[in-house]
């Protein structure tokens, strides 16, 4: 009798477990289909942090491909010169990894924003720059003068190289009154040009 009950107990337990796993399996399976996420959402988040110049300085044909490569191929996050340190910091924050310095191999962080400018008198209308522009910011037609839509130009530089008559300049964006803003005050360190105000800090080398 006791043997039987033990067997029954075992059977009950097995049946209960099988049932439970079947139910949860069904729920999970349903969720996997119903709440399926296309692509990796992290790629979108990384893409949102990149500066969208589409310059290709990172070695990828645009910002999104770079974001994809960071996720898929484990590409380093410090290959984006237009974004500079700010972008690297933001990416490091997002991916929860230490922020590296900008990889100088891919170019230096630009000091000023630039915009492409076509010396229109010299343009021969070859359309090569139009093809090169990743954001369609160059206007023109074959054998007609081309011009850059300055507000759409990301300053990516890609149109300069294909130009056969070298009539494209990258000009710094002129600072306008509307763009002016207060700058961060200089810190005491900068003001004093000394390591610090606290007496012991003044001899930085000793303290260190």
């Amino acid at each position: 009798m006791t043997d039987m009950s033990a067997l029954e107990l075992l059977l009950t337990a097995v049946i209960a477990l099988v049932l439970l796993s079947a139910i949860f399996g069904a729920i999970l399976g349903f969720a996997a289909i119903r709440f399926k996420v296309e692509g990796n959402p992290l790629v979108d988040q990384i893409d949102a942090l990149l500066p969208q110049t589409q310059c290709g300085q990172c070695g990828h044909p645009g910002c999104r491909p770079y974001a994809q490569a960071i996720i898929d191929e484990g590409e380093a996050i410090n290959h984006c010169p237009p974004g500079g340190q700010a972008t690297i910091n933001a990416l490091a924050n997002l991916l929860d990894i230490p922020a590296p310095e900008l990889d100088e191999e891919h170019g230096e962080e630009a000091e000023v924003k630039t915009v492409a400018y076509i010396r229109e008198a010299e343009c021969i209308g070859c359309t090569k720059c139009i093809v090169a522009c990743p954001v369609d910011a160059i206007l023109g037609a074959a054998k007609l003068m081309h011009t850059v839509i300055a507000v759409e130009c990301t300053g990516c530089d890609l149109c300069v190289e294909p130009c056969p008559v070298d009539c494209i300049d990258m000009l710094p964006v002129p600072g306008e009154l509307a763009d002016w803003h207060w700058s961060t005050p200089r810190s005491s360190v900068e003001l004093l040009k000394k390591p610090g105000i606290i007496a012991t800090d003044r001899h930085g080398d000793v303290a260190a």
């Binding site: 969208q52 589409q54 645009g62 369609d136 759409e152 009154l177 002016w180 803003h181």
Partner: protein
Amino acid sequence: MKKTWDIHGGIHPPENKSQSLQRAISNVPMPDVLILPLNQHIGASALPLVKPGDTVLKGQMIAEPNGFISAAVHAPTSGTIAAIEERPISHPSGMSAPCIVLHSDGDERWVEGPPPADYQSLSPAQLLTIIRDAGITGMGGAGFPTAVKLQPRQSIDTLIINATECEPYITADDILIRERTEDIVTGIDILAHILGRPEQILIGIEDNKAEAYEALEPLLKDTAIELVEFPTKYPSGGEKQVIQILTGQEVPSGKLPAELGIVCQNVGTVYAIFRAVCKGEPLVSRITTVTGNSCRTPGNYEVLIGTPAVHLLTAAGFDEFLCQRLILGGPMTGYTLNDLSAPVIKSTNCLLAADAAESPQQGIPQACIRCGHCAEVCPAKLLPQQLFWYARSKDYDKLAAYHLGDCIECGACSYVCPSEIPLVQYYRAAKAEIRVMEQENIAADRSRQRFEYHQERLAKAEQEKIAKREARKKAAEQAKLSAQDNENIDTEDTDVVAAALARVRSSKPSPEEEHKRLQRAVMAAESRLAKARANHELCAADDPRRASREATLEQARLRHNEAVEQLTRHTDSNDTSKEQQNHTAEIPARTQHQNQNQNQDTVALDRAQLAIEQAQQRAAQQAEMSAQEKLQLQCDSLRKRLAKARDRLKQAESDADDNIEAYATAVTKLEDKLAVRQAEVEQGLAKTPAESDS
């Protein structure tokens, strides 16, 4: 006495208002040159209406508002426009901006305008137009276009007149109330009229303006306007602060006072509205306080907009050597003016020429000791020490979480900071950086979108290319296949018919159209001929142009003949085709039915189509007939054509037509052809028995 509320924090800096209150409002001598920036307000720059060299009168609009949130600029005096160019303006950046430069002629001739009407009889919309056309902006400091502020979407139940003027040194509003009390009361009534008589009309005034209070009080006895006095404290004069003091309501973060049903206007603005509505004068001057220890005669000056700062300062006895720092605005919220040629603009309420004692050198900021004084004085109840922390580390998310956007930049925190940290500067910089970042994000989003469209376009073009290639390949294969099929079936006749069909379809317009076209040509040629003839007759015999006229006439005649000939030829060929039609109608059996149909629908049916069908029928018949019969048939048709040609020749001979020769050759050619065919027929007849034998 109405209840007032208190605001959080606040400071009590030395007021220093008495210096500039020693004398009444005085006038400034007319400057030779006035500089009028196109953007003296918040919003889009005004558009110039004048060009260099134009003569303008005082009060003439010289730049119109560009869009809804914008304000007009008026000539402050009569004179000549010298230039429209970049000039240094009164702005913390010290940068230049487009300005209209006016050389005054000293005559002060006013522009003629409609006489000001009684404002009670005008509608709010009309009054708003007057205010807008007068170029009035907020005179308290920010310079927001007043007309925009006076037409909120919400209904307004409280109108607040801000006479607080809490910042040290500045007394422009105080003296304005003292000296022009009645005008201001009228101005308030105009505002109340525009806003549909709000339930409450409050004037908020600090208790350090006793004289102004006493001047106003008797005038408000029988009005709905309530004068509310409250303790002096900086910064009670901020819009949100004065609203809180007078109504106890806090304007929620990121919202406008209008959303609480409140509109707040500065006293200076009220006075400008009075001038515009009751005097018909646009905003061309304002009261500006010039004070500080570096001025011998500090006081309030009625100054024309556009007067260079140096001119105004000279009038106040400015001593350049005493001046440590020239501040535009008050000591708390103002900024250093580096270029003395920068003009006074609509929002310039004070010029403070501070000496060394008044403006001590900014000490070297020390570390934040977390004393919390700044949080105690912050009128917006923020945590300045935390904001400083995050502003330094550029942690913009945290700054947003600590409501940096609600900072009114009053400077109370910097004032009390024992470590002399320029806190407000950090906040201003951080706010600007956040704004820049937001703009960059918008730009990046656009770029991303454009890049995606670009990629999509490329992909589409590639796909189209592939599709085209595929289609070409398919077509080639199809052609190959059909060619093979044709070879297999071996129906040469049908091929011929198809080719003929295609030819007819592709080339010829319908005979009717052709006929019409030719008729038109003939008519045109006729008119040309008539013209040439008339010209020719008009010409005298000895005219040197006679020869050329003759040539023209001859040419016209030739052209006409040609056209006529073409037309007749076409008509003939049409007749032939008709005959052919009749001919085919004779063909018995199954074609008859079709022909009947055709005859019924001839009008509707395209003639070309008809011809095609006939050709098809003939081809079909010919295919059925033996070669012999075919030849016979051809002979018959040739004979018919010959007969017709002969008829035509005869007709031509009887009419003495020019083209007899052409008809004659046609007849001989047809005769030759017929002879050849007949010979073939005879040959064939001779051959056939032999063939059948074999």
